[in-house]
């Protein structure tokens, strides 16, 4: 069973004077339960690829099929709804709302999904426990370390029960210890909860944790290893 499939996925940025071919005919498939690292030097197209399969931007050419739906054909507003119900996101920065506590940051996504408020509270607590932040539920992001903030972001990404989670350089702003800690949590979620995870990184330290490594060079797949 394939959950994400790209066919000749191509993205050309041409809003500036010089068009940039950020992705060039990428054919990739992802199975449920996979834990994949997208690696490659800066500018190789990692962010562009994650944005495409996350439905945050549209391809210039090619197809993106997620669980049978060709998302490249959806309207902008349908795509927002699709993201809400199918995809969890962890960004490099700007993940959390500063005015909300950790628990509220995890909850609001369930609010958007119109989850029963009683279940919402219990689930937010459970998720924060899974990422080791049960003692920080009522704390605002400014009082959390960078690593703790990213863990809240992981809990939030899980809250909507997505089909998979995308994380674009989630450890880029973290020290080594926090980076390993975050990856350990992601690896555990993948192993124990069978969460499908795809993250990008150019950080050699954290690549080891992934079970599949896709290497991009100049917007094309140069290597695809499973272990």
């Amino acid at each position: 069973m394939t959950i994400i499939k790209t066919e000749k996925l191509t993205k050309v940025y041409d809003d500036n004077s010089l068009p940039v071919r950020a992705l060039n005919k990428v054919d990739l498939e992802f199975e449920p339960g996979e834990f994949t690292a997208i690696v490659g030097p800066s500018g190789s197209g990692k962010t562009t690829f994650l944005n495409m399969i996350g439905g945050l931007d549209k391809p210039t050419e090619g197809k993106i099929i997620i669980d049978g739906t060709e998302i490249s054909k959806l309207s902008d507003s349908k795509l927002i709804d699709f993201r809400l119900h199918n995809i969890g996101f962890v960004f490099q920065a700007y993940n959390l709302l500063p005015v909300l506590t950790a628990k509220e940051n995890v909850s609001f996504i369930m609010l958007l999904q119109k989850t029963d408020p009683k279940k919402m509270e219990a689930r937010a607590m459970e998720l924060l426990k899974q990422v080791g932040l049960e003692d920080k539920v009522d704390v605002r992001p400014s009082k959390l370390s960078g690593g703790q903030q990213q863990r809240v972001a992981v809990a939030r990404a899980l809250a909507s029960k997505p089909k998979f989670i995308l994380a674009d350089e989630p450890t880029a702003n973290l020290d080594t210890e926090s980076a390993f800690n975050l990856l350990d949590i992601m690896a555990r979620l993948n192993k124990e909860e069978n969460v499908t995870l795809i993250f990008s990184t150019h950080d050699q330290r954290v690549i080891e944790r992934a079970r599949r490594v896709v290497t991009l060079v100049d917007g094309a797949v140069a290597k695809d290893e499973r272990r």
């Binding site: 944005n51 931007d57 507003s77 490099q92 700007y94």
Partner: protein, 122 residues
């Protein structure tokens, strides 16, 4: 303040990226704007009214800052400021403009952005 406007665009962009639709973003901004404008205008008017009432009664003793120099020009050193009603409207308008800059402007910006651009780290 520019910083907070900037952060606000990223926040709203993040909300849209994770699945908050335009209608909800718009609704949230409208609610927030109405709330802030109401509070701001109310607070501003109250403050204006109180200072006006006090200084209007007791007068401001400008002699304290200007000595007798004002007298020499033929002005009394005691002035009794009164704010005309239009002033209140101008103040209210200022509040509305502030709210517009800090809340509606970033919202319009964020709604126009592609979500991929809004969450881009610069």
């Amino acid at each position: 303040m520019l910083m907070s406007v900037y952060e606000r665009i990223h926040e709203l962009g993040m909300l849209m990226a994770v699945g908050m639709n335009r209608r909800k973003v718009f609704g949230m901004i409208m609610f927030e704007t109405a709330f802030l404008t109401f509070l701001g205008a109310l607070g501003g008017m109250l403050l204006g009214f109180v200072t006006n009432a006090i200084t209007g009664r007791t007068g401001l003793d400008l002699a304290a800052v200007g000595g007798d120099s004002l007298n020499e020009f033929g002005y009394p050193s005691m002035v009794f400021p009164t704010m005309e009603t239009p002033m209140y409207f101008i103040l209210t308008l200022l509040v509305v403009i502030m709210v517009f800059i800090t809340s509606i402007f970033p919202a319009v910006k964020a709604l126009k952005l592609k979500p991929a651009e809004a969450v881009r780290k610069e």
